[in-house]
């Protein structure tokens, strides 16, 4: 991963590294790096979750993640930004998503990071299936 790049995007079956996201967003012009880490919770609506299966429309998902990064750069003075998302089967506690944003001052880093995770959840074509001990369900599919 080239740390000279302003935008770093990754959609992978391999475990995500918060360290890498931190390294690629470090910048001498940045006074703040905000990192969001999304992890797999062991329950949903009082049901116990065993694991999650993620599925992605890979080419489009990467494109949408790039769009999000560019939108963040247009709206905030972003020095560097990393958006990493996991694909495949994840166990409880695994990292599903990492977003890191560096900016000159902290307020913009917080805002840009929140914008990216909130919008990612609405636009990036990735789906998760929750696996219970007695069944499974595609999250958010039904009203």
């Amino acid at each position: 991963m080239n740390s000279d790049e302003k935008i770093s995007i990754l959609l992978t079956d391999d475990p995500l590294s918060v360290d890498t996201a931190l390294k690629v967003t470090q910048s001498n012009r940045a006074g703040a790096i905000d990192i969001f880490v999304g992890t797999v919770r062991n329950n949903t609506q009082q049901r116990s979750v065993e694991r999650l299966d993620f599925e992605a429309y890979h080419t489009m998902a990467v494109k949408e993640m790039e769009k999000l990064a560019n939108q963040a750069c247009e709206r905030w003075p972003v020095e560097k930004i990393a958006i990493y998302h996991r694909n495949g089967t994840l166990q409880i506690g695994d990292i599903a998503v990492v977003i890191a944003v560096s900016t000159p001052h902290r307020q913009a880093a917080f805002e840009a990071c929140k914008f990216v995770i909130d919008t990612l959840k609405q636009t990036v074509p990735i789906w998760k299936k929750e696996i219970f001990d007695d069944g499974e369900v595609w999250v958010s599919a039904h009203p």
């Binding site: 999304g38 959840k121 609405q122 599919a141 039904h142």
Partner: protein, 83 residues
């Protein structure tokens, strides 16, 4: 009326509903994004139960009246749930 064969990629719950990952689907030439969604909902009524069904054309969300072509890479996009 002339028809065209569309290649449709399926993900998540739509893959389960249709029962395959890729679907070859016949539509009249000149069919639009909403035409395809309406037609698929008739063929696969369980698509009606979903919160939303969007269509991606060549890796972008399709526009409302966008006309589809045989050469397009088309995908059904059920409600996303990444993050």
């Amino acid at each position: 009326m002339r028809t065209m064969e569309l290649n449709i990629l399926l993900f998540g719950i739509t893959k389960d509903i249709v029962g395959q990952q890729k679907l070859r689907y016949e539509m009249p030439e000149g069919a639009t994004v909403p035409d395809l969604v309406d037609d698929l909902k008739k063929s696969y009524p369980k698509l009606h139960d979903l919160d939303s069904v969007l269509v991606a054309v060549n890796n972008e969300y399709g526009q409302k009246q966008q006309v589809l072509h045989e050469s397009d890479e088309i995908a059904l996009i059920p409600p996303v749930s990444g993050g």
